[in-house]
Symmetry: C2
């Protein structure tokens, strides 16, 4: 078999890169659990007709079938393209067994047959946080998920050295109310075009609004003025008021943004801002919307987004409103690891290599390893009773900091060697697990 080549759009990491990823996933999971979110995992496949209900992204779906499918196999299955659709199905399927508001996190891969490029993959890992009510869901939950995400990003920054983030907060009601107050019949059509500001700039958006929607200069100017409003305090509300539009939905939207912004910025000052340009493309958002960028790495795109949807799912009798937020794990890590910004200081979990004198005394080394492991110290026993210099190089190549010789242990970075008892000795706390290294 010749050396296989990677498949474009299906990123994989070498062990040191994977260590970065497992640390990030640990932070995400443990933070979610601190906030009382329960882990859920759903199957990789859904019935095809469920995934194509929205009709928009069916081109990107991967269909799954048995190689020798029989005529009796009527179910068409496909890989999920996000974690929201499977979760909505899970909530409906299990609603009788769940307690609402139901709080869950879910870390899994999704698949989309899109053209691969940096930041966009055919297979990618996402971490989703959602809170779902039965019938109703109070607004204060909209502030909870940014707290989970910003706490997780904060630990990634402090513990692993990832870039800091800035979360932007918008609101569909605010934007729709504003456009309705401007006398525009189809606020959604305006939202869709203003959403292109980043790609085509204000002049481009102005042209679309004029030519495609027939908006007049005053309307276009007001729409662009709204999209320019940003603040990390409540002053955004005054700026909206200064535009002179009155509308009940607009007022409700302003109150929602104010409430979420106040609750989140009191714990994460400077890390969340109202940004009234944010609308997000997907139709199902009905109130709060979030987007998040890594400071200095804005070109990667939004690393975390989501929002409020008044009907995540409905079974006819009951409607389940929810608020959700996704962290794009692969979108963050594949570029940062791929460009060499993030790695680990060893390629193995082992903190200690236990050297072997002769093949006859391997059991002595095995016993040292057993005693270290019993105390939570990861280690491995040298594969061969080579000369000590060769065993040290074996450790060096893997980044293992300590080599155990008989009754002593050596820090091979400093050369310092000390007598040690495997039932007592412990490495410095920083050496116990592999450290994440950053190069910017």
């Amino acid at each position: 078999m010749a050396r296989p080549k990677p498949i474009s759009g299906f990123p994989e990491f070498l062990p040191a890169g994977r260590m970065v990823e497992t640390r990030v996933l640990d932070i995400i999971s443990s933070t979610a659990e601190l906030h009382g979110l329960a882990s859920v995992e759903t199957r990789a496949v859904e019935p095809l007709e469920q995934l194509t209900r929205k009709g928009e992204i069916d081109k990107e779906i991967y269909v799954v079938r048995r190689l020798h499918a029989e005529a009796s196999d009527v179910d068409q299955l496909a890989l999920h393209f996000d974690l929201t659709v499977p979760f909505a199905r899970y909530v409906l399927e299990n609603s009788g067994h769940l307690h609402f508001p139901f709080r869950r996190y879910q870390v899994q891969k999704s698949w989309r047959g899109e053209r691969p490029q940096e930041g966009r993959y055919r297979e990618f890992t996402q971490a989703d946080f959602d809170i779902v009510g039965s019938g109703t869901l109070a607004l204060h939950h909209d502030a909870e998920l940014p707290l989970v995400a910003l706490e997780a990003f904060g630990r990634m920054h402090q513990d692993l050295g990832l870039p800091p983030v800035l979360m932007r907060l918008g609101n569909r009601k605010l934007a729709q109310g504003f456009y309705a107050g401007l006398g525009i019949d189809d606020p959604s059509a305006v939202l869709q075009r203003v959403d292109k500001l980043d790609k085509i700039g204000p002049d481009g958006v102005a042209t679309l609004l004029r030519e495609q929607l027939g908006m007049d200069d005053a309307q276009v100017s007001a729409a662009l003025a709204l999209a320019r409003i940003r603040s990390n305090d409540l002053s955004f509300a005054d700026e909206v008021a200064a535009l002179g539009i009155e509308n009940a939905l607009l007022t409700e939207g302003i109150e929602e943004v104010s409430s979420v912004l106040e609750a989140v910025s009191s714990q994460f000052p400077g890390q969340i801002a109202a940004d009234l340009r944010i609308a997000r493309g997907l139709d199902y958002y009905t109130g709060t919307v979030y987007e998040t960028e890594m400071v200095g790495f804005e070109s990667i795109g939004s690393v975390s987004g989501g929002g409020r949807y008044d009907a995540l799912a409905s079974d006819g009798k009951n409607t389940y409103p929810g608020v959700g937020l996704t962290i794009g794990v692969t979108r963050i890590l594949a570029p940062l690891i791929g460009r060499g910004h993030l790695s680990a200081n060893r390629s193995v979990p082992s903190c200690v290599l236990v050297a072997v004198d002769t093949d006859d005394t391997r059991t002595t080394a095995d016993d040292v390893a057993r005693r270290l492991r019993a105390r939570g110290i990861a280690c491995e026993v040298a594969p061969k009773a080579d000369k000590y210099g060769k065993q040290i190089r074996h450790a060096e190549r893997r980044g293992i900091p300590f080599v155990w010789f008989g009754t002593s242990v050596k820090d091979i970075r400093t050369g310092e060697q000390q007598e040690a008892d495997p039932d007592v000795w412990a490495p410095p706390a920083d050496d116990l697990r592999p450290g994440i290294t950053t190069t910017w």
Copy 2:
């Protein structure tokens, strides 16, 4: 949307069941890391022709294609059906970046289009441990993976209450050498038939050996005698010797079993036995083979198996021998959780529900929650400022043991309430995380 139904063969857990699974996966991962195995994750898909090279299980493969695939999409992709084939490909693809012997663990889902039944699923999670050498791999590694697996199973038994396990050890060289010594031309053909002992019994196997392979009574009787040999000490070697067969490969096999059995049983006495019937179906095993059953739950089948393969992969220049062992996570948990044997004592990670006095003082409750979380105590804030009795029932339904009221905390199981400071108070260690409950 009507209530969706489960898809047969694609098991999913409710949150309490998923808690059991995450605890099992934590034990597996942390045990593997203590033994110096690095985490690897591979993509879900492989080129179809790689998966069908062996030609045997192609019927069970799930092919993946874009819903609107274009004529230019020449690559046929399929979901992997185990973690060994993707890992072999990963080793070849990255051999220049890996250090050998390369030690890795991998916990992922695989997919097979088999007819679903208890213990056999179309989507299932496996945990694989492998050690792979470049060119050669010493025999002592064959004893390492049983140590990892038995340590993980031991923690599942002690910490979570899962059943104990018994690992059985066989060896292809021993069996092949024995049959060759019996004067049989095609030892593999005998192995395949003796492998059916569990299904068709000794008389059935004897008939096959006589009728299909033309073996005489003495040969059949010797083959069945070998298959009956079991011991958890080195006495199996004497029993083999008593059968009077001489063969160099047989001798080598006996030495290998003795060596592995001695190393493993010194650490896990009574949990591993030589069982010369064990051969395992797959062709690529060339020496040591393992199988593992849960004591009292033998009907589930082998929950962990594997063995030595002298050529996991080869790129023409280099051959990579390996030894591997798999834990069938879904095979263990789906029946035990499904039958109600395993669950968790709460359906949420939260240890504390922080009660809310009035909606105006929600920020006070948020602040208590923040301070508890900062000290690693999972909590959630009550969704509504209901009467206290209702907030307590909210906690009860979820199994949350503590409710925080203002400046005191109440254990709602005992009714005991005490003054508490969120910067100081800690729950009993057993209450910090959800406990796993067992019902046999």
